[in-house]
C-alpha cells in the first residue's frame, strides 16, 4: 500500500491527491466527448468548477445545519479543511442542481451532455479504484492466485485493480465504438458497462455490506441497474429512426441488406 508519497520533506496523501486527479481527468475526458458531440468543451470545465464549489459549500452547510450548536460555539471551525466534516447527500444534491441549472441556462442538449458526463465519470471512477488499491480501501478476499497482493497482512485478490482495469477496458471499448452510437447511447452504455464491471468484480470484495440471505448489496444494486439500463436500451430498439433511438452498426447493416 502506498497511502503517502514522500517528496523530500513533504508527505502527500495519495487518496485525496488521486481523487483530485481523477476529477480533473474525468472532466478532461468529458470535455473531449462534448467537443465531438458539438458542445463547447469550455462548458464542461465551467460546469465542473461550479459543481465542485457547490459540493464543497453546500456539503459544509449541511454539516453546519446538522451540528449547529457545535458550530455556534466555535464559528471558525466552519472553515475546517477536514473533508470528513461534510454531508455527502447535500453535496450530491447541489451538484445535481448545478448541472440542471447550467444545462437550462445555456440550452445544452441533454443527451449529448449526459454522454459526456457519464463517459468522463468512468475515468474518475477508474482513478478512484486505483486510489482505493493504494490505500487498502474496499480490499479483496483472500487469494492464492499468483497475482494476489499483500494487503492487511494477507494475500488478497487485487479487487480494486480489477475494477480499475475493467473500467479502463470499458472506456477503450466505448471510445472505439463511439462513432456508431447516437446521442444518449454512450452515456447509457457507460452506465450499463460500469454496472456490469461492479456486478462481476464485487464478488471478490471482502467484508461487503449484505442484504437478505447473505447477498452482496453492491452486486444486487449493480444487477438491478444493469437490467434497467439494458431494458431502456432494448426499448429504444423499437424506434430505430427516432433521434434518441438506438441503432447499432450491425443493425444498420441488417436493415440495409433487407
Amino acid at each position: 500500500m502506498i497511502s503517502t508519497l514522500h517528496l523530500g520533506p513533504v508527505a502527500l496523501p495519495t487518496y485525496p491527491l488521486l481523487a483530485l486527479l481523477g476529477f480533473y481527468l474525468g472532466l478532461w475526458l468529458a470535455a473531449q466527448i462534448a467537443a465531438r458531440r458539438g458542445i463547447n468543451p469550455d462548458h464542461l470545465y465551467n460546469l465542473g468548477f461550479y459543481a465542485a464549489i457547490a459540493a464543497a459549500v453546500v456539503g459544509r452547510i449541511g454539516h453546519i445545519l446538522l451540528f449547529f450548536p457545535a458550530y455556534r460555539s466555535d464559528p471558525i471551525s466552519i472553515l475546517s479543511p477536514n473533508l470528513a466534516a461534510f454531508q455527502p447527500v447535500f453535496a450530491v444534491a447541489a451538484v445535481a442542481i448545478v448541472i440542471l441549472f447550467y444545462q437550462r441556462r445555456y440550452h445544452l442538449p441533454v443527451a449529448e451532455l449526459g454522454d459526456a458526463l457519464a463517459y468522463g465519470a468512468l475515468l474518475t471512477l477508474a482513478t478512484l479504484a486505483l486510489a482505493d488499491g493504494l490505500n487498502g480501501r474496499h480490499f479483496g478476499i483472500a487469494s492464492t492466485q499468483p497475482w494476489a497482493i499483500e494487503q492487511w497482512s494477507m494475500a488478497r485478490h487485487p479487487v480494486q485493480y480489477y475494477e480499475m482495469l475493467g473500467t479502463l477496458l470499458l472506456i477503450a471499448l466505448l471510445w472505439w465504438r463511439q462513432q456508431t452510437l447516437r446521442p444518449g447511447q454512450l452515456g447509457l452504455w457507460a452506465a450499463a458497462g460500469y454496472a456490469a464491471v461492479r456486478l462481476f468484480v464485487d464478488a471478490y470484495r471482502d467484508q461487503p455490506a449484505l442484504i437478505g440471505d447473505g447477498y452482496r448489496q453492491s452486486q444486487v444494486i449493480a444487477f438491478i441497474a444493469l437490467m434497467i439500463l439494458l431494458l431502456v436500451l432494448y426499448q429504444s430498439l423499437a424506434e430505430p429512426d427516432t433521434p434518441n433511438g438506438i441503432t447499432f452498426e450491425w443493425q444498420q447493416e441488417e436493415d440495409g441488406s433487407r
Binding site: 453546519i64 451540528f67 457545535a70 458550530y71 471551525s77 470528513a84 464478488a203 444486487v220 436500451l233 432494448y234
Partner: protein, 178 residues
C-alpha cells in the same frame, strides 16, 4: 435473427448469468464483526497493543473493552493535533464518567516533551508513548492526527484522518457512544 431477438437473448442471458453470479457469491450472514481479523479499518476489531504511559505504567487497549474508546494519534510538533486537543479534552470531561475513554498515543517523543505539552494544554485524558512507533506501524498511521473510534466491543466504527472540529467529533462519537 432480428436485432430485437438478439438483444432479447442478451437480456435473458444477462439476467440468468447475473442472478447466478450473485447467488454463487452469497456469504453467511452470521459472521460477526468480532470474528473478523484485527486490522485498523472500520468494521474490524481494533488491533491490541500495550504501551507505557508517562508514569511508566502499562496500558493495554484490550483492557478498555466494555468502554467506548477514542484513540487519537498525535505529536506535539503537529499543529492540527494541538488544535483539536481542547475538543478531545472536552469530550473526555463530558462523557468520561459514563464510559468514554479518550486515549492519546504520542508518536516517538521524549516523556519530558509529552508532559510539558499535557501541562501546557491542561489535558487530563490518558496518554501512552509509542516511542518505537510500533503501534503507529500496526495502525498504518501516515499522517497526524489520526483518530479511531472504537465501540464497547472493541470494533473500530470510524477512522478520521486530519483535524476534527467539535461538530465532526460529536458526529463520530455517535457511532460509539449513542
Amino acid at each position: 435473427m432480428t436485432t430485437k431477438r438478439r438483444f432479447s437473448l442478451i437480456l435473458i442471458l444477462t439476467f440468468l448469468l447475473g442472478g447466478w453470479w450473485i447467488w454463487q457469491h452469497r456469504l453467511p450472514t452470521d459472521i460477526t464483526a468480532s470474528a473478523r481479523p484485527a486490522i485498523p479499518r472500520a468494521g474490524n476489531p481494533a488491533p491490541d497493543f500495550t504501551l507505557l504511559n508517562p508514569a511508566g505504567n502499562e496500558v493495554h487497549l484490550s483492557g478498555l473493552k466494555g468502554q467506548a474508546v477514542v484513540l487519537n494519534f498525535w505529536a506535539s510538533w503537529c499543529g492540527p493535533c494541538r488544535a483539536e486537543m481542547p475538543e478531545l479534552q472536552q469530550a473526555y470531561q463530558q462523557f468520561g464518567k459514563n464510559g468514554l475513554v479518550v486515549l492519546g498515543v504520542n508518536q516517538g517523543e521524549p516523556v519530558s516533551i509529552v508532559n510539558d505539552f499535557l501541562a501546557q494544554l491542561q489535558l487530563t485524558f490518558p496518554v501512552v508513548l509509542d516511542q518505537q512507533l510500533q503501534v503507529s506501524q500496526l495502525y498504518h498511521i501516515n499522517s497526524l492526527p489520526t483518530t479511531f473510534f472504537i465501540d464497547r466491543d472493541g470494533i473500530i466504527r470510524e477512522v478520521v484522518i486530519g483535524q476534527m472540529n467539535a461538530a465532526l467529533l460529536k458526529e463520530r462519537l455517535r457511532s460509539i457512544y449513542p
